[in-house]
């Protein structure tokens, strides 16, 4: 039977929805118990959010000022200590989990299954390789602790409605001081979060400049959508890097995705494969994006996008 420990992702005292997506992944292999580990300087509010996720057995907290920022080198020995007795340790396949999980796996001397996209059994999973051009079935040994990162776009967030017990853990692991947090420059935005938004509007190189991106923002605000971008748009400096969607950016699964002035390179498409409906606006009718778009519209974005925004009233 599987006993699963999920490492909570949180920022500014709030739990990230990626944690509840990991819970859904664990439920998919009928875990006997699903516990959540919260490492933080002040874990109480985060733990309360985690305890409210339906299906969670226990929430374990480690309060330590060293945990104020998610430094993998500091978190990893604590996760290793807390993992004793668990068959699985899961983290989301976000930059948080990608940074932390392999460090935990190496300390335990076990392999890691990255980007779990589908569950076939407690030790059998599907995951994408080659930018999603192939899907492999991976079998992990049942005799070792399984460390996995969960492709969050593949699992819906488990619903609220739980009331798990919260327990404070005391961990005596020695924590390194060789890695120190300096600062986090967060994109200030009142728009929805790109990774969990139901609607996303993305702009590409076709948008042409940072100033022109205002047409994308206006449409997004009309739709209540998050804003994303292609790598070309980020590299050209139109928007910050945290908006990049794709193989090396964010993998997302909104209900509605609008790709505007984006050609549809394979590395971009990897990030939106699981979107519900993909709408593409591009002036080039031959652009590869139209091969996968559910709805395509050929034309100049500077004419069409303001029209669309107006038509949405």
């Amino acid at each position: 039977m599987s006993k699963v420990l999920i490492v909570a992702e949180h920022l500014n005292g709030k739990l990230n929805s990626s944690t509840a997506r990991c819970v859904t992944c664990a439920k998919a292999f009928h875990a006997e118990s699903i516990d959540i580990l919260v490492l933080a300087d002040a874990p109480d509010a985060i733990a309360a959010e985690a305890a409210a996720i339906a299906g969670v057995g226990k929430v374990l907290t480690v309060a330590n000022t060293a945990n104020a920022h998610a430094l993998a080198a500091v978190y990893a020995p604590q996760v290793v200590a807390a993992a004793a007795g668990y068959s699985h340790v899961l983290a989301p396949s976000t930059t948080f989990g990608k940074d932390l999980a392999p460090r935990v796996a190496a300390l335990l001397g076990v392999a890691q299954v990255s980007d779990i996209a589908e569950v076939l059994g407690a030790h059998s999973f599907k995951r994408p390789i080659y930018a999603g051009n192939a899907i492999i079935t991976v079998e992990a040994p049942a005799t070792a602790t399984l460390i996995g990162t969960v492709r969050t776009a593949s699992f819906a967030a488990a619903e609220a409605g739980g009331s798990a017990a919260v327990e404070a853990l005391s961990i005596s692991a020695e924590l390194p001081t060789h890695t120190r947090f300096v600062e986090l420059q967060q994109g200030k935005s009142d728009r929805p979060d790109l990774q969990s938004a139901g609607r996303v509007v993305s702009g590409g190189r076709g948008v042409g400049s940072a100033e022109n991106f205002s047409v994308i923002y206006k449409l997004a605000d009309k739709l209540g959508a998050a804003v994303g971008a292609s790598r070309a748009a980020v590299d050209a400096g139109y928007v910050p890097s945290d908006m990049q969607v794709g193989q090396t950016g964010k993998i997302i699964s909104p209900e509605l995705y609008l790709a505007i002035g984006i050609s549809g390179a394979i590395q971009h498409l990897t990030g939106i494969k699981d979107a519900g409906t993909i709408v593409a606006i591009n002036k080039d009718g031959e652009a590869p994006i139209f091969e996968i778009a559910d709805i395509g519209l050929v034309g100049d974005l500077f004419t069409l996008v303001p029209q669309l925004e107006a038509a949405l009233g």
Partner: protein, 248 residues
């Protein structure tokens, strides 16, 4: 300062990968192979540190089959001082790659190790973090800016929330993100010069690495295809369609 750079050979990013009809793997026969783009960025960063006078020695390392020599010569032509080829015909997994790189660290005693954040074939995104853990040293993953001063480095990382800066003590492992730099093009005379640069081959078996290859890939499949959608002629038709789908 000495820098060790991970330099893996992968299927070129322009190749459209095909899964073999019998599901036993992907077609790699006859496809173009190149350096992992993130590893070219890693090497470029190391070369720039050498050009700034911070580093003196840049060593590229690959773990791979016998025919990786030409690939390593590319790294030497780009500017690395030396190359190390750990020869194995097996496809090793990240934990084994990390254990192998640790052996090279013990041998070379680098002050900095730079790897790619992920190899674009398996997209594991594990090796650097595992190596840092085994080495018991700091890791700075997904780097978009590196500033070395004395025995510490300030690294800006591309994280989901924005840009995070951390300070790490050296030696350490850094993994590169795409915007760290733009790798240079190799010039013809450098390709000639690379032929006489030292390239050391070490059989993987001789390093005494405990295998960490415990995962089995039992099937390969093509991803589910999204069916081709419809083209609309104008915004009015688009909005009408979105309305019938209940999306706006």
């Amino acid at each position: 300062m000495k820098i060790l750079v991970g330099y893996k050979r992968v299927v070129d990013y322009n190749v459209r990968i095909q899964v073999k009809p019998d599901g036993s793997g992907v077609v790699t026969e006859g496809v173009k192979l190149s350096a992992n783009p993130f590893d070219e960025i890693a090497l470029e960063e190391a070369l720039r540190l050498r050009e700034k006078g911070i580093a003196t020695d840049v060593v590229v390392a690959t773990i791979g089959p016998a025919d990786c020599q030409a690939h390593l010569r590319n790294g030497l032509a780009m500017g690395a001082n030396r190359a190390i080829h750990v020869v194995t015909s097996e496809a090793i997994q990240p934990l084994t790659a990390a254990r192998t790189l640790l052996k090279l660290i013990e041998k070379e005693q680098p002050d900095l190790v730079i790897l790619g954040k992920q190899a674009i074939d398996d997209d594991c995104n594990q090796t650097g973090q595992m190596l840092a853990a085994l080495w018991n040293r700091p890791q700075a993953t997904f780097a978009s800016k590196v500033e070395i001063s004395g025995s510490t480095a300030k690294v800006t990382r591309e994280v989901d929330a924005g840009l995070e800066t951390i300070e790490i003590d050296l030696p350490a492992v850094i993994t590169t993100d795409l915007r760290l730099n733009e790798p240079r093009f190799t010039k013809l005379p450098d390709i000639m010069k690379a032929k006489s640069k030292p390239l050391e081959s070490i059989p993987l078996e001789s390093l005494g690495v405990e295998s960490g290859d415990s995962l089995k890939t039992t099937a390969y499949a093509a991803p589910p295809k999204r069916s081709k959608g419809v083209m609309v002629k104008d915004v009015a038709e688009l909005v009408a369609l979105l309305k019938t789908k209940g999306l706006v």
